[in-house]
């Protein structure tokens, strides 16, 4: 029981005198005066109060939570990283007044990090963009939605007329719901371009490419929860403690109960490393050398899993030729790591199993990003650490829905659910969209022959991957002949993407200035609104957050979670669905594009329901098993979160609603929703029947190579009727096996319709194209994986460097190694030239290392996320990191006379780049290495740009961007930038 009041003598013997003092002078703390201070202290909120009228809704910050009155509880997900923490919002009178821990969620069990715990402030929205705006003669002016949509549409059509559809770049967002991602991808297709991308480009594009090219799918194989089973963990280029804090709950708990070995291989002694059992400091950009060094010991000592390799992996004989070059002496020469350390890590990883390998952007953001990822996979395959609990490639993705947005094809080279851009893939989605292929074809440009490159027809152009988001500004600035499409980029339509997370911001600034049209649709103005000096043709559209709309999102572990709208969109903001609809209306293809959706009245216009969009994904997402996750099933999971086990993520089989399901129906969730596939907790797991979430490696690289079969040998998922490797299921295979008779009449009718009645074409209808799901159903009924049962491969013959090769960063602190380990030759990728080799050669020749002797790497802070506009606008978070900083080693700082907290200049080797930041003198970084977080913007090369934001929308905290000093360098497969290894010079600022 709680005592409320201390036993206080109400009045003493003082009598009248005491009475006269009572309540006098001592002003009782005024109602709200405590609350009100929050506004006063942050300052600059005047703008909010000056706004009024129209549909404008006042900021709700001061509305107190009445704890005595009931509040409605609504459940959604945190909009920051990919862990997928449930957020419970308490709503009173349409205002989000409180946040409660969602203990029932098996993912976060009530927990949050700083960002999740302050989610509510996102919807207070003091610094949000409040209504549509445009620049007129350099000034921001308020306009109506109608005017904004009309003018943007007119300008887009004008640009299309002059420069073609490809000259409008559609930059989407990892903050989209799955439904908005899908809608945006579809929108781009109906507009007629493959220039559509999102944050995955700069986050895990190399992971997706590298992993998919190894064993089939580009995603985390296991889950955060499953790491509780691991006995050995390697973190390489992952700082989960800051980037995925709630994942650390499972990791640290597992570490304790398993007494697990936790290795952190990183250039920095991070908050994650603080909890490691061994911290190994590596030089940025030497991942492949380190991994091959480990594999050298593994093969040398016979620690590899020979049985696993024989049954399930192709190509080690060939790969060993490269791997075994990395003897301990060479590893030490290149990486600085001694034999003893490398051997210890290798032996533990190979022998104390199950072992998992965790990586993040420290591995992916390199010119060798895809190769790094394949090296990690090679280590997992060599040690047999894929395809069971406690193992696998636990790839921690960055944003709330970067996995889902990638799955939905917000990518220059994919249609939704990884269908690619081949004609069959387009035909498939045209069937789902209920439009003729010729209609979409008519929307695309034909491309003239340029600089000796062949011309492309519209249909051919549909098959060509677009320009990666890391290069849009090059495509806007380069001579049009250098860009492999009709014209360069003339317009950016940016939905929820910052500009400060991509290197070479000086070029980005020039690129923005060169555009004919810039549209930013976002809850905040972002750097896209402030970095440039544009005066006109620049629009800001206020988009609400995911807390203000319905929709699903896919966490890193492939689980889908349905978020319900917490409150109506605040101010004049509106959701993505409605805005994309209105834009396509103005552009003239709304009727075609939206005919498959259920349309309802939205805030300002008609909008499609999230449910009907997800159902369309269910109708078409066969290749990735995005078909079983109906809105109804997802909502049932959210209602029954407490039923799921925190280690297996599975609900008890007898539960009436979600019995036997894995939480969030992690894809692949095969077949139709009615088939009740439980989802796949652990990918490629042969110890579980396919109907229960089992699988095998996906044979997607052909059936044989040089006479050697690429199908699995003596390995199959338990309960399989085919006890051997087999290719993907097609109608032909079903017929051959005699299983086609098990198809229902309806299924057969659908398959025959897809085949156009032609028996040859019908035979070719595969598990990915069969809109009935019958082929999948029958295969799974026989215990078979629809995609086949193949081997993973450690040589990707279709990629540059089929076996990963160590290559020095373009700006390397070891120019002596460049002759032996140069970056790849110049070439053309993704419609753009890549001159990395030339730049590296020039850097060595000009001895840039002498002028820029410090290695610069970058990363995350726990308080902020991505470009940081959202989080730096949140005072609860902004207060915790008020200054952009650069970590400088204590010895380096002493040598340069730099004090902790003092201002310094960090100079970059390109474009005379320099940033003024505060020094954080620490031994987190090694001597000769510096680190800067990438969330800051609003200062550019010493200039404070606060005045360039529309009034009242400037984030609380501004700072220099690390990407003002980062440099050239692109992965040849995906166009991923080099964000983790470049050079700089640090000087004390006056």
């Amino acid at each position: 029981m709680l005592i409320k009041r201390k036993n206080i003598q109400a009045s003493g013997t003082g009598g009248a005198l005491a009475q006269s003092f009572l309540g006098m002078g001592q002003r009782r703390l005024d109602r709200r005066s405590f609350l009100r201070r929050s506004g006063v202290a942050v300052g600059g909120l005047a703008a909010v109060s000056s706004l009024s009228g129209g549909l404008f809704q006042r900021a709700e910050a001061a509305t107190p939570h009445n704890h005595a009155a009931p509040a409605e509880r609504r459940k959604n997900m945190c909009t920051h990283c990919s862990v997928g923490c449930s957020v419970i919002a308490e709503v009173q009178n349409g205002v989000w007044v409180g946040q409660e821990p969602a203990f029932e969620s098996p993912i976060n069990r009530g927990s949050h990090c700083a960002k999740g715990a302050s989610s509510r402030e996102l919807v207070h929205g003091d610094r949000r963009l409040k209504y549509p705006m445009k620049k007129v003669g350099g000034d921001w002016v308020r306009i109506t939605w109608e005017q904004a949509i009309d003018e943007i549409g007119a300008k887009m059509l004008e640009i299309r007329e002059k420069s073609g559809a490809d000259s409008v770049y559609m930059l989407g967002s990892a903050k989209f719901t799955n439904e908005a991602s899908y809608l945006f991808r579809k929108f781009s297709a109906f507009w007629g371009t493959n220039n559509v991308d999102h944050q995955a480009r700069i986050c895990h594009s190399t992971t997706v490419a590298g992993v998919a090219n190894t064993w089939g799918y580009g995603a985390q194989t296991n889950s955060y929860n499953d790491i509780r089973n691991a006995k050995t963990l390697i973190f390489m280029g992952s700082n989960a403690a800051e980037a995925h804090p709630v994942a650390m709950q499972h990791i640290l708990s597992g570490k304790e109960t398993q007494r697990a070995n936790v290795f952190v291989l990183d250039p920095r002694m991070t908050r994650t490393a603080a909890h490691a059992t061994e911290f190994v400091r590596i030089r940025p950009g030497t991942d492949i050398a380190v991994i091959w060094g480990m594999l050298w010991h593994i093969f040398e000592n016979g620690w590899e899993d020979k049985d696993f390799i024989r049954k399930r992996v192709y190509g080690f004989d060939e790969a060993k030729a490269e791997i075994m070059k990395w003897n301990p002496a060479e590893v030490e020469r290149v990486t600085g790591l001694t034999e003893e350390v490398v051997k210890r890590v290798a032996q533990t990883f190979a022998t104390v199993k199950p072992a998992t390998f965790i990586w993040c952007m420290g591995g992916t953001q390199h010119t060798v990003g895809t190769a790094n990822v394949r090296a990690y996979c090679t280590l997992l395959l060599a040690t047999g650490n894929v395809g069971d609990i406690g193992m696998g490639a636990n790839i921690f993705r960055g944003h709330t829905n970067v996995q889902g947005a990638t799955d939905m094809g917000l990518d220059v080279g994919n249609l939704p659910c990884y269908y690619g851009l081949a004609p069959a893939a387009w035909a498939h989605w045209c069937r789902v969209w209920d439009v003729p292929f010729s209609y979409i074809e008519s929307r695309f440009d034909d491309v003239p022959a340029k600089q000796g490159r062949e011309a492309r027809t519209r249909a051919q152009n549909m098959e060509v991957s677009g320009i990666p988001s890391t290069r849009w500004f090059d495509a806007a600035l380069l001579d049009a002949d250098d860009v492999d499409q009709q014209d360069g980029i003339k317009a950016m339509v940016v939905f929820g993407h910052g500009a400060n997370t991509i290197p070479r911001m000086k070029a980005a600034q020039n690129g923005m200035n060169a555009l004919d049209l810039l549209v930013v649709a976002d809850p905040h103005p972002t750097t896209f609104a402030a970095l440039h000096t544009r005066t006109d043709n620049t629009y800001l559209l206020p988009i609400c957050t995911n807390f203000e709309c319905h929709g699903s999102r896919t966490a890193s572990n492939r689980s889908l979670q349905w978020g319900e709208k917490v409150v109506e969109p605040i101010f004049e903001s509106d959701n993505d669905y409605a805005v994309i609809y209105r834009l396509s209306q103005r552009l003239g293809f709304a009727d075609e594009m939206f005919k498959t959706f259920e349309m309802v009245d939205g805030k300002f216009s008609k909008e499609p329901t999230a449910e009907s969009i997800l159902r369309e994904v269910n109708r078409g997402g066969w290749s990735t098993g995005y078909t079983g996750q109906s809105p109804e099933r997802l909502k049932a999971h959210m209602r029954n979160q407490d039923k799921f086990d925190i280690i297996t993520l599975r609900a008890p089989k007898d539960d009436p609603e979600v019995g036997g399901d894995y939480y969030g129906l992690p894809w692949p969730c095969w077949g139709t929703p009615e088939m009740k596939h439980p989802g796949t907790h652990v990918l490629y797991n042969t110890n579980v029947p396919v109907a229960e979430g089992g699988g095998a490696f996906r044979p997607r690289f052909g059936l044989e190579r040089e006479g050697v079969s690429l199908l699995a040998e003596d390995s199959w998922p338990v309960g399989s009727d085919i006890e051997d490797g087999y290719p993907e299921f097609t109608m032909a295979l079903l017929q051959k096996l005699g299983w086609d008779s098990e198809l229902t009449a309806e299924e057969r009718a659908v398959i025959e319709k897809i085949g156009g009645g032609d028996p040859e074409k019908i035979a070719k209808v595969s598990w990915t194209l069969d809109l009935s799901g019958g082929i999948q159903r029958v295969a799974i009924a026989h215990g078979c994986v629809p995609f086949g049962n193949g081997k993973a491969r450690v040589i990707a013959w279709n990629l540059p460097d089929p076996v990963p090769v160590h290559r020095e960063p373009i700006y390397t602190p070891r120019p002596d190694l460049v002759a032996e380990y140069p970056t790849r030759e110049d070439g053309r990728q993704l419609r753009m030239p890549n001159i990395g080799h030339t730049i590296q050669a020039r850097a060595v020749e000009q001895k840039l290392f002498d002028q820029f002797p410090t290695v610069l790497t970058s990363g995350r802070l726990v308080e902020f996320e991505g470009g940081g506009e959202e989080t730096r606008s949140n005072p609860w978070l902004a207060e915790l990191q008020q200054d952009m900083f650069c970590e400088v080693n204590t010895k380096d700082a002493a040598a340069k006379g730099i004090k902790d907290g003092a201002w310094i200049w960090v100079y970059g080797p390109e474009e005379n780049a320099k940033v003024r930041v505060k020094a954080l003198v620490t031994d987190r970084v090694a001597p000769g290495v510096a680190f800067m977080p990438f969330h800051f913007a609003g200062w550019f090369m010493g200039e404070d740009q606060r005045g360039k934001y529309p009034q009242g929308t400037d984030p609380v905290v501004l700072g220099e961007s690390v990407n003002a000093v980062t440099t050239y360098g692109y992965d040849p497969v995906t166009g991923m930038h080099e964000g983790k290894a470049t050079l700089c010079r640090i000087e004390a600022a006056a």
Partner: protein, 200 residues
């Protein structure tokens, strides 16, 4: 009777600051007031540990002893609370507190200390339970609703424990036995005169 305590298991703490923003969120704590904070000892060195710290709700609380106006009181749950109507903003409690818990807005005359604010263990203050007045002066009263402090409930790694001191001590003891290490029940000796004995 049970005594409510906080225990930060530093071997779990990753300085994610969820406790800090959860507190801001629950009580609308203004900028510049940090009822809870996370400090990292030996930052950047192997063996660094981060510790989340707020009012420890000490036994024989020094703040209460030095307060010139006796504005502190201890509830039956062992929570040390104060009365903002009585507080004169003198700062003595801050001088006496071993944990830097008392916070002051720069709101009084000459911009000097306003009325002290500190962690309430999410249990409000002397106003009527769950009243608007209580919320606006002290923040939410989760204890009255049968809930524990939000900082601990939202801790990303279940590092920060809150609840009956005996129970959380037992949780910590079990953890240390399971994993074989523990850097200590930070602040307990200073706050309660005794720490948790772990014979692992």
């Amino acid at each position: 009777m049970a005594r409510m305590k906080f225990l930060c298991d530093a071997d779990r703490c990753i300085e994610c600051n969820a406790c800090v923003t959860a507190c801001k969120n629950e009580h609308e704590v203004p900028w510049g007031i940090n009822r809870r904070r996370v400090v990292t000892i030996n930052d950047g060195l192997p063996g660094e540990r981060s510790v989340s710290m707020a009012c420890m709700h000490c036994t024989d609380a020094p703040c209460a002893q030095v307060c010139p106006v006796n504005c502190f009181y201890t509830t039956n749950d062992g929570v040390v609370l104060h009365n903002k109507d009585t507080c004169i903003g003198c700062g003595y409690c801050f001088y006496a507190c071993p944990f830097g818990a008392p916070q002051y807005p720069k709101a009084s005359n000459f911009g000097s200390r306003g009325k002290m604010d500190k962690c309430t263990y999410c249990s409000g203050g002397p106003e009527e339970d769950l009243s608007i007045a209580e919320y606006e002066k002290y923040g939410a009263n989760r204890l009255a609703e049968g809930k524990l402090p939000l900082c601990a409930e939202m801790c990303s790694t279940k590092s920060l424990l809150a609840g009956d001191g005996d129970i959380i001590a037992e949780i910590y003891r079990e953890r240390v036995v399971t994993r074989g290490y523990g850097s200590g029940a930070w602040g307990w000796k200073t706050a309660y005169g005794e720490t948790i004995n772990v014979s692992a």
